[in-house]
Symmetry: C2
Subunit: 202 residues, 2 copies
DNA sequence: TTATTTTTATACCAATCAGTACAAAATAAA
DNA sequence: TTTATTTTGTACTGATTGGTATAAAAATAA
């Protein structure tokens, strides 16, 4: 192989693109979960061999965490975008529709990595499972804070508890993730969202 | 050991109760999922050794299927009970409250076996994953049929699509399962249900 | 060239996985 | 007792797991 890329440092040049390899790993983890994804699955999909993987990304847990970060910045990008909507109602609807779109996009596995990645695990991956719980909780908190702000801006009725509403929203999002991983289409989830938005406090 | 139980057939008597052992296995699968539960986990929790497990329940897949059946008849018993409610609204509310109760009961693992049991798996357990998808779909169909009946009985507005409403209900139930597996309490889920029921078509 | 550095490819490691062979143990039947 | 039958406990199997040792390969630097 001769991928002559002068990277200004000595030694044999890397024969693959780390970003692209990480994207492939993300796809595998997204589809099979942390435990269901074997190193052979990963190296095959990434097009590299084991020593290259370990030298570039660390061990399996570290690679998974990097895939989580990438997921947050890529497919999960709809969240910060939705939080920028002007009204509480628009925020919630953007969250739900954004989630449905990502979860059912044909170009990637169904569902949500933060849900399927390590929902139930053996004892060995328990720490990662807790880590994902914390990350999901952090997302819920961010939504709650946005709704609290909406309330101070007079944008959400004072009768509504922002924490409860935030929990409701992420519950629907996680439920849609299960549906999407079971073969639900975007149209299916759109109708679920129509019903969920009907719950909006008048 | 001398558990003198005259079972009318020759041979060394079984030293454990199969029903109780299956319950223990159910707990393990419920907590760790199919792939996360190792045979050592199972035999330890069931209090038996490997040959006894295989002689009584078959291989791991077969044991898991028996645990699914037991889950349906035991913890999942709230579903047929809810479907017997007189009105569509009462049916849906009973489904949601029944699910929340089972998913957060302190006597068993959080969440729902039908969701966590095999949500995302390696290639080896793909068949089981599909089987669980089918079982979840069957449950959704049963709810849809009940709502269709409610519609013919004038109990549910004709403007509502029973299939959509059924999918919304199971989406919330599955979302609550993820929440419960992440540490949500019954009170947390009760408030989610209050909001979800607010979506009820007037 | 020669030396140095980094990556690649192959082959291996110990641990664990699901599943089983085999003999001792414990019962009923003869 | 003796025989037949079933379960139990231990030890094992081959396959796969995550992870690594080692040396060839491919680049820069001297």
């Amino acid at each position: 192989m001769s991928t002559t890329k002068s990277t200004s440092h000595p030694g044999r040049p890397r024969a693959f693109c780390p970003d692209q390899a990480l994207d492939r790993a993300l796809q595998v983890f997204w589809q099979k979960g942390y435990e269901g994804a074997s190193l052979s699955d990963l190296t095959t999909a990434m097009g590299i061999n084991r020593p290259s993987l370990y030298a570039t990304f660390g061990d399996k847990k570290t690679l998974f965490r990097k895939a989580l970060d990438r997921y947050e910045q890529g497919p999960g990008g709809y969240v910060p975008e939705a939080l920028n909507q002007p009204t509480a109602r628009a925020v919630v609807e953007a969250l739900l529709r954004g989630a449905a779109k990502v979860q059912t996009a044909s170009c990637n596995p169904g569902g949500c990595l933060f849900v399927h990645g390590a929902l139930s695990t053996g004892t060995e991956s328990e720490a990662l499972r807790q880590e994902l719980i914390a990350r999901r909780g952090a997302g819920e908190n961010t939504i709650r804070e946005r709704l609290e702000r909406a309330q101070t801006e007079g944008d959400l009725p004072a009768s509504v508890n922002p924490a409860d509403l935030a929990r409701f929203v992420v519950t629907v999002i996680h439920g849609m993730a299960v549906q999407a991983a079971s073969g639900a289409t975007l149209a299916d989830l759109e109708r679920v969202i129509d019903l969920a938005m009907g719950a909006w406090p008048a």
